[in-house]
């Protein structure tokens, strides 16, 4: 397996729990004369799940693209493991961060397990490659997609594809996981599964950024919430601090109620109806 790169370097060291993994400071970006990001700040430490919330068009996916290194901000700086993102080569980045895109597409009908195996590509030629088969099998098992082995990815349903795509991203074993609306295509059971997996990875020392629309889901699983509006970070803090009715009502432009769950006390965020 060659990537057109003559790189034999070994795996980056896993970040120590609690250490700074990713910082984005005052990120600004304009495309086609429109300001998509106007001062977004995010930081992720190893071992935490950060929920990226905000209304449609707030710039969540754009910010995620900047964090992944796809888009270069016109101002501000993004650092991964203390180094500016622009200093990394594609392969070095691939060993440190993985991104789950909103829609999982595939041009050719590769079998589902081969798609998951693609997640191991950055590790080819390193000692980590010896674990490929085990990592792939494990990623498929935890995403409940092992049954799709041998079936063409293109023949799977939307929810099944989403789980295989997640398995691929998990198999990449990057210390920073960026998940763009991972629950969008999934039923209730699998939504919970995905966020439990995010928690498991955080417990193992990874940093996870997850874009969500379901605020109650964010409240239940995130350590910290970053709230975006009009391309800027308007709040960043623990769930209980950020998910408050007045702030959310203003940002989402719709009256919102926040109630404690009668049994667990975890905030439930509901739009006011009727």
């Amino acid at each position: 397996m060659r990537l057109g790169l003559r790189n034999r370097s070994e795996a980056p060291e896993r970040p120590a729990p609690g250490s700074e993994l990713l910082t984005a400071k005052d990120v600004r970006l304009s495309l086609g004369g429109r300001e998509l990001l106007a001062g977004a700040d995010v930081r992720v430490t190893a071992g935490e799940v950060v929920a990226l919330l905000g209304p449609n068009g707030a710039g969540k996916s754009t910010l995620l693209s900047v964090l992944a290194g796809d888009l270069v901000p016109s101002a501000g700086e993004v650092r991964l493991d203390g180094r500016p993102l622009a200093d990394y080569r594609p392969l070095d980045l691939a060993r440190r961060r993985a991104l789950l895109p909103q829609a999982a597409a595939l041009s050719f009908p590769f079998p589902a397990d081969e798609v998951v195996r693609m997640g191991r590509a950055p590790w080819a030629g390193t000692t980590a490659a010896e674990e490929d088969e085990r990592v792939v099998a494990e990623a498929m098992a935890v995403t409940e997609s092992a049954a799709f082995t041998g079936r063409p990815f293109t023949a799977l349903s939307g929810g099944e594809r989403a789980r295989v795509a997640l398995a691929r991203v998990l198999a990449q074993r990057a210390a920073l996981l960026l998940l763009d609306e991972p629950t969008a295509a999934l039923d209730l059971r699998h939504q919970e599964l995905v966020l439990r997996l995010a928690r498991t990875r955080a417990a193992a020392g990874d940093g996870v950024v997850v874009v969500l629309h379901d605020l109650s889901l964010a409240a239940a699983y995130a350590d910290r919430v970053v709230l975006l509006a009009d391309g800027a970070t308007v709040a960043d803090g623990p769930v209980a601090e950020v998910l408050r009715a007045p702030l959310l009502s203003e940002v989402y432009g719709h009256p919102v109620e926040v109630l404690p769950h009668p049994r667990t006390g975890v905030p439930l965020v509901l739009p006011e109806r009727g």
Binding site: L93, A105, S107, F108, P111, G119, E130, E133, R134, A155
Partner: protein, 357 residues
Amino acid sequence: MTATATGGSAATTVRRPGRTTLLTAGLAVALVVCAVLAAGIGAYRIPLGDILASFGHRLGLGGHELDRVPESVLWNVRLPRVVLALLVGGSLGCAGALMQGVFGNPLAEPAVIGVSSGGAVGAVGCIVLGLDALGTWTVTASAFVTGLLTVFAVYAMSRSGGRSEVVTLILTGVAVNAFCGALIGLFLFTADTAAISQVTFWQLGSLSQATWGKVLGVLPFALVGLAVAPRYARSLDLLALGERPARHLGVDVERMRLVLITVVALLTAAAVAVSGIIGFVGLVVPHLLRMLAGPGHRFLLPASALAGALVLVAADLAARTLAEPAELPLGVLTALIGSPFFFWLLRRTRTKQGGWA
């Protein structure tokens, strides 16, 4: 389970290694058999035993020299033609598989980025203007050069901010193809009847002008292309996920695209230059192989080269024997068989997996 994975390559072998290996070996054997048969069959028949004896003699492995006529027919007429068909077919098949992979689109073929039409402009221009600075090589050389220039023009025009988008690239190709078509029309408008018939013949595609010189002309491009292509097999697999996901997995997408488009341009421009326009090999062969043994490029790239060579050697044999003593234009034959076959493939894929994507 970990014991089976001794390294990166072992862990990523294709799902059906038995099947892909068998198919590749089968194609190679069929190609050799077909090439030897094609060397013997024609207006002047040469028995198989004589062919092998002559091979043996030339290689110093025993055997004996044939009489003057069969020896000359075999070595100066048949073999250059068979070898040229093999190289052109291999180049077209491999270039087709590369194009489909690079564009993540099963309908892409080298013609999309202007190689064929650009090459045709050079060839037609030479024929119509009566240029012969390089003697018999003039048409071939100018087709090669203009084919390459057109591809790089398309690529340069579709780039902006250090990146090229697939859709922009294809649309630029459409515009440039139309422009080339207009140039060819303009040349034909000013041409005399003799030149027009020569142009028409060139555009139909043929290997009847095969010489060892042309074989040597195509050989370096075919060898370089076929050597470089498999190095990108895994990256092409990853590119099927889309550009961004491929980049997230460490593929330098822009660099790979530039290298592979160059490879496609060299392979196709060289093939078009010596044979004229031969369609459908690059489009149909990779499809068929993907259907038989899956889309993994580690298998698909070499197998497409082998199958392309096999198809073209067989097609050229048919072109020169079906209507003896007349010779059918090779490009017409491949399109005549290729297009209904492609249609059948489309239908079959549709019913089997509900479409392409």
